[in-house]
Symmetry: C2
Subunit: 200 residues, 2 copies
């Protein structure tokens, strides 16, 4: 149980985490400020002391996601001995992140669905682009090192990498159990590596 009166920064942080927790349970675009406040044992009005608007709160959530995900991925990549091993640990790091924070892919997809080019949507787009570039760079390095087949289409391999995670998320959405992701991730990763690896 958190204290009743929190310093502003801490309250903002708790709010962001609450939004992500709710996003794990329901359609993110249907999360109301009333629901957020209730979950935090706070009144609705208090939220607007810390965020000027709901969109600003959503932006803060996307910032949180971008920072944490990329940081986790860079750490995973840094320890890897080679490009292929880096892709492997990047995949598992991402999958682990999604299992810990099931609301994240749902928020991301929800934002991408939006029509207007709002700040949170642009942040979601920017994050996925940055992510894709990271994958692409590793794939290119893998080709240079001879670990990744020279004749594969890098754009397609990047799309497939992202889709691989998406497929896992979709399965967990179907079954309603996020743990399914950690269970199936290694087998799906093995298949992905089969697709891109150069053959002896």
């Amino acid at each position: 149980m958190t204290a009743r009166y929190l310093p502003a920064e801490e309250r903002r942080s708790v709010t962001v985490e609450t939004v992500l927790a709710l996003a794990a349970e329901q359609n993110p675009s249907e999360i109301t400020t009333a629901a957020i406040a209730e979950r935090m044992h706070l009144t609705q009005g208090a939220l607007f002391r810390h965020f000027p608007s709901k969109e600003a709160l959503w932006t803060a959530v996307m910032e949180w996601v971008a920072e944490r995900l990329m940081q986790r991925i860079e750490r995973a990549v840094a320890d890897a001995p080679g490009p292929l091993a880096a892709l492997r640990s990047m995949f598992l790091a991402h999958a682990g992140f999604v299992v810990e924070h099931p609301g994240v892919p749902r928020m991301m997809f929800g934002e991408l669905q939006r029509a207007e080019a709002s700040a949170p949507k642009r942040m979601a787009q920017a994050l996925i682009r940055r992510y894709g570039e990271r994958v692409r760079a590793l794939l290119a390095a893998g080709q240079a090192a001879g670990e990744v087949a020279a004749d594969i289409d890098l754009d397609a391999a990047t799309t497939l990498f992202i889709g691989t995670i998406q497929g896992l998320v979709m399965q967990s959405l179907l079954a309603g159990e996020p743990e399914r992701i950690s269970r199936e991730a290694p087998a799906v990763l093995a298949l992905y590596l089969r697709a891109i690896r150069s053959h002896p």
Copy 2:
């Protein structure tokens, strides 16, 4: 331009197509009955002459999707000479369907995000399950025929197949151009086949 007074069945059909057209442009869960009516040059109230509730309309949309998609896929599979060729044409048929109806994957994902087990959500779940079973059956047949590697995990290969399409959809959402799917589909398919094919 459609006539002002349509027979009920035709009006229902036009309504479903209008919802899918709107879903291609905006977050499906933010589509209002007012927006649907406006697009059809009809008043809001008229919609409720043909559907008892918004949820009933959504159910009709999911019915439309399930029928059309599965029919298209079964036709594509039927003409194929073998399991691997069937998977190939299933993939391309699905990709083609999504390009023609970009609102479809967005509606599907939107429904899966929902918390409550509503009728349209259950239909979306049922469709994806049925789809997955179809893929699995083809993969199993492929293994029996020696076209698909015997040592791969069928569940993972099914998840990856669905994820492959998802990845393409994600890319098109990012770029905002559905045609991107048809352009990238063959290369991504080639990679998928590399992952599952048995090696000579």
